[in-house]
Subunit: 362 residues, 2 copies
């Protein structure tokens, strides 16, 4: 049964979610939309104003009906979130993000091939520098990492970073004395669409191409992470039985055909035919996705990654490969598009994770 | 906001779900477990007894603590459900199922290759005969059909029955004057596990092999049906680019390698090597499933269909094909097993759909 603390959290989450989607609103509007009493709304809003999460936004003039009322809304810059994206091959990206998902400060740090403890050390340095940069009070820290990440922020495995069973959230929160949340980068990109983007459907497949390739799934409006936090790990789906040997030991994994370093390398080869390279990679990705799209009947596919995967050539090849391998009913509705958040989607998604966990905004 | 009627339905569903899972219980236990008041529990239970859905089951003797109390439980034979499974190639199966998911009456009807209106006519005849057979009051009618079925019971397409846009629920409910619910057969098999089986995890992939092959998905404890009721339609996933031409026009669809008629035909050929036939089919199925299992990180796979798909040879081939194409973390936890409901799983699942829609039991 619900404790008073559960109820308090649920009410906060309900009010903040309503303001996030539909705000600014008056307290009376909030009561009407949420079904909470005026007294509860006023008490919760007062707390949220004290915490710099909500602010009063002046008086709305009286219209035909109703009295003039003070509007309240999310105080976008009342609290900030520190975010670090460690999913890109060449650099770690650090940012300060506000409660509207806007990037306020952004810095990149050359990764210089760091893996293992050296990569954790760099990550900690970035956090300290960003804490120093941040002007307002911080809500928490969000890290987007490739690989399998538990709800508690343990990196079970992130092959490209050489991480196995790294309790990243615990390590960082101890050092920084702030709440730290860690999320898989493809899941972050999906959360960014869900929280700050313009999803047109309750279901969404977000494909993330970075040092490898993975997928974030939004099903029935919620992130779906599977039995062991490994949902969306399609990088080692075999797309070519006779293909190249993968780091994992198998042959022809999707990652041997689609990843950022691989695309870069192929495009830099002498006499490379850019269109042919992008078409081949897009086709392999579409082939692997077709079964997922078909099995889930999810027809909105968002591509996240380097500029190459946002090109029309790549997108068209992906779309055609999916459509040719699924039912016509699916092909007819299929949309393959870039992220509405642009190239900062993963950073913004890490912030979305913190908003979800700390404030119940989703 | 919730209307009194919404609240009434929610309370009924909550109490019936609790009795279905944990009953029999006393009214006081029900109040404690659901958080509803004693007065509400008593009023709802009284209505449910009047409707023959719940019954009193005598007095529980007082233990160390607590007074003697009357237990109430689901009145398994107080209401019956008529169910018809039209997914099998050779015959339609009609049954009367009780509220515990037990098959009370079961009849099979030779389909004689009927399709289109002739198949609908046979279905109506079966319904009339079963209505005549049923002894107690009926809760409703559940139909399990292959193909894409809307929530409102319209068969969008069921290729093997030659059905396109057949408003089956409407036609039958008008004729029978009973609530009629139609559900895809793979989804029925999944619902049977969820409602009457022993699922050990919140996620489940139920593979149904009949005249074609499809999948029912249980994610986070609920049936997932996708954007256009087509989730789980993996029959036309291409598993062999150079394979046989499928009825859909493409080459090498999963259904050209795995279906009940195809397996029967191959096993009946002169000099057929049974183990080799089953291994090949199981491997093709596992290949198509691997991407779904990997992408969803759902490691409980239930096989529904003719006895051939429950053989150890078929299951082992399926398991190995999935494990060899997914991450070790998934292969290590993978369980591929027959339905706990046996060969009546689809019939029982059609009843589960009626219990869900009419009583909120799930």
């Amino acid at each position: 049964m619900a404790t008073p603390e559960d109820a308090r959290r649920a009410n906060r989450s309900l009010l903040l979610g309503t303001l996030h989607r539909d705000g600014p609103l008056s307290r009376a509007d909030l009561a009407k939309r949420t079904g909470l009493t005026r007294a509860t709304v006023s008490a919760v809003v007062r707390d949220l104003i004290d915490e710099s999460v909500v602010e009063e936004l002046g008086i709305r003039a009286a219209g035909g009906v109703g009295k003039p009322a003070t509007l309240v809304g999310i105080d976008a810059d009342g609290r900030h979130v520190l975010c670090i994206d460690v999913s890109e091959p060449a650099e770690f990206v650090g940012a300060v993000v506000n409660l509207d998902g806007k990037v306020v400060v952004r810095r990149t740090y050359d990764r210089k091939g760091r893996t293992g403890r050296a990569a954790v050390t760099l990550l900690k340095r970035i956090c300290r520098e960003l804490v120093h940069d941040a002007e307002g009070p911080l809500l928490g820290v969000g890290i987007a990492s490739p690989g399998i990440v538990t709800t508690e922020g343990v990196i079970v495995t992130a092959a490209h970073l050489g991480w196995t069973d790294v309790p990243l959230a615990l390590e960082l929160s101890t050092e920084l004395d702030l709440p730290v949340h860690v999320v898989n980068d493809a899941n972050a990109a999906a959360l960014a669409e869900l929280t700050f983007g313009e999803p047109t459907a309750p279901h969404l497949i977000c494909v993330r191409v970075d040092e490898g390739v993975g997928v974030g799934l939004v099903l029935d409006g919620r992130l779906f992470t599977g039995s062991s936090h490994a949902a969306g790990e399609i990088g080692h789906v075999v797309v070519d039985d006779g293909g190249a040997v993968c780091a994992c030991g198998k042959r022809g994994c999707l990652e041997t055909e689609v990843s950022e370093p691989l695309l870069d390398r192929r495009l830099e080869e002498d006499g490379a035919d850019e269109a042919a390279v992008l078409r081949a990679a897009g086709t392999h990705l579409g082939t692997a996705l077709a079964t997922v799209v078909g099995a889930l009947d999810v027809t909105e596919v968002v591509l996240s990654g380097p500029p190459t995967v946002s090109t029309e050539t790549f997108r068209t090849a992906t779309t055609e490969a999916i459509a040719s391998r699924t039912l016509p009913v699916i092909g007819a509705r299929l949309v393959v598009r870039p992220s509405t958040l642009g190239f900062d989607d993963v950073i913004v998604g890490a912030a979305a994770r913190v908003l979800d966990q700390e404030l119940g905004i989703r």
